[in-house]
């Protein structure tokens, strides 16, 4: 008797559980390492709001580009620059007219030592340090921006002998946070907590001293048939996602 009464509601409950699973899709996303934290949070919000799941792989943008060129399986690409997505667009691997700037990177001169970096960046001309870390300007847009700042201040030639270069911005941050380099140019997103620089000392560099660090997203042809892929591209422009992007120390494109 009891069984008969319970059978239908249980079956209904089971069907309800299966329902979102059958409609939801999974999208494979290649994410630039510097966007790890915000993207993890955005993926959770994306799943909650659309039911689709985003599987994130983190790495360097250059490596992702060569993987795409050799049959990489990712469906959406969130690059650390605009160079990679433009290249994929031109080589026909990405869906035309889907590229947009999802975030603008902000550069910070940072030291793990409190009081070393003043909030005007005067420390650059004063000196008193042996190493200054930056990301390789050839590979990383944050590195190129750092070079631009030093050139604008007329200090590039003076500081160049003190350069230590990280292969990417994460490694540059390690050089500075371990104290091996007294100070260095890192991403604001790496040292931000509650909208401020957490720990050490830093100078948030005014954006008129360097060209905007455009981080572009693009839909790959591999994802053209997957409804979750364009849904994620759309979700990146939603107020919810934009708030997360801002919270982690990025600016938004106009």
């Amino acid at each position: 008797m009891l069984h008969k009464h319970l059978f239908r509601p249980i079956l209904a409950a089971c069907l309800l559980l299966i329902a979102p699973v059958t409609w939801a899709e999974t999208v494979l996303v290649a994410v630039a390492a510097n966007f790890t934290k915000p993207m993890t949070e955005i993926a959770e919000a994306f799943e909650k709001s659309t039911g689709h799941k985003a599987n994130l792989s983190f790495g360097s943008s250059g490596k992702f580009v060569s993987q795409f060129e050799n049959g990489g399986p990712f469906e959406v690409f969130l690059s650390a620059d605009d160079k990679g997505p433009i290249k994929l667009e031109q080589s026909g691997l990405a869906v035309p007219n889907t590229r947009f700037t999802y975030a603008l990177g902000k550069l910070v001169l940072w030291s793990a030592t409190p009081g070393l970096v003043d909030d005007q960046g005067q420390v650059l001309s004063k000196g008193g340090f042996k190493h200054i870390a930056l990301a390789d300007p050839k590979l990383a847009p944050y590195g190129a921006a750092a070079v631009e700042v030093m050139k604008n201040r007329g200090l590039f030639d003076k500081l160049q002998p003190l350069f230590v270069q990280g292969e990417n911005i994460a490694q540059t941050h390690q050089f500075v946070s371990t104290g091996n380099a007294e100070l260095g140019f890192v991403a604001f997103s790496q040292v931000i907590d509650n909208g401020k620089i957490a720990g050490g000392s830093g100078w948030i560099i005014p954006s008129d001293l360097y060209k905007p660090i455009r981080q572009d997203a693009i839909l790959m042809k591999t994802g053209a048939e997957n409804p979750a892929a364009p849904a994620l591209m759309q979700f990146l422009k939603s107020p919810e996602a934009l708030a997360i992007i801002r919270k982690y120390g990025y600016d938004l494109a106009e």
């Binding site: 490694q171 390690q174 371990t178 091996n180």
Partner: protein
């Protein structure tokens, strides 16, 4: 073709590998000898410690070397106390890191060949009143020659090919810490595939020639038993 910066990385790589190999032979020989002969209960622990760099992923090892050799790390404090400054981002730092990373490749072939010599030749040398140094240079070294050659080849080539450790502790400074593996990687990351192919091709050709010469030497000079 190769530009001046590429050539500089090849030369620097060769310098690091050559110096590191000599150092590893100097450190590895007594260590391998002790490991081959001792019955101490510390033997297993030491063996395990020497092999440990094989287990750790190079970038992980590099990261901890960066922490240890940095101003807040134990090794960094020691080198600063000696007045040497800290090791990361310097050529000597690169050599030290390479030695730590490649040491098992030198110690293990040496240890194997020392073990295979056995007691007999040493006892015979002793009855001929050879002192320990004399025994080492006129008995052990000739007998263990294949071991020394293998150890040098493996130590050298492993250092040439190393990447993760250098990437972490080097800081990519031209003429000081930018070695060829990092340069190839940078070319690939910058999507400069032609330059990457050229440099990788040169590295392969160079390594192949060195290895072939060494193996030819190894083959044409059979080791004469000094006591026979």
């Amino acid at each position: 073709m190769l530009n001046a910066a590429d050539m500089a990385t090849l030369w620097l790589t060769f310098k690091v590998a050559a110096i590191a190999t000599v150092l590893m032979l100097l450190i590895g020989t007594p260590l391998a000898w002790w490991l081959a002969r001792t019955t101490s209960r510390w033997k297993s622990i030491c063996n395990a410690l020497v092999s440990l760099p094989l287990v750790l992923p190079p970038t992980v090892l590099g990261f901890y070397l960066l922490v240890l050799m940095g101003p807040a790390g134990a090794i960094g404090k020691f080198t600063a106390w000696l007045g040497l400054g800290t090791l990361p981002f310097t050529f000597p730092g690169l050599v030290v890191a390479s030695v730590l990373y490649s040491l098992p490749f030198v110690v293990q072939p040496l240890q194997a060949s020392f073990t295979s010599i056995g007691e007999q030749p040493l006892e015979a040398a002793a009855t001929l009143r050879a002192g320990p140094l004399d025994t080492f240079f006129s008995v052990i070294v000739p007998l263990a020659k294949p071991g020394f050659l293998t150890a040098s080849i493996l130590g050298f080539t492993h250092t040439v090919g190393e990447f993760g450790v250098v990437l972490m502790v080097g800081g990519n400074i031209p003429d000081k810490t930018r070695v060829v593996s990092v340069q190839i990687y940078n070319h690939v990351e910058a999507l400069e595939y032609t330059e990457a192919h050229w440099l990788a091709g040169c590295l392969l050709l160079f390594s192949f020639s060195v290895l072939m010469v060494l193996y030819t030497v190894l083959k044409t000079q059979p080791v004469a038993h000094p006591l026979k």
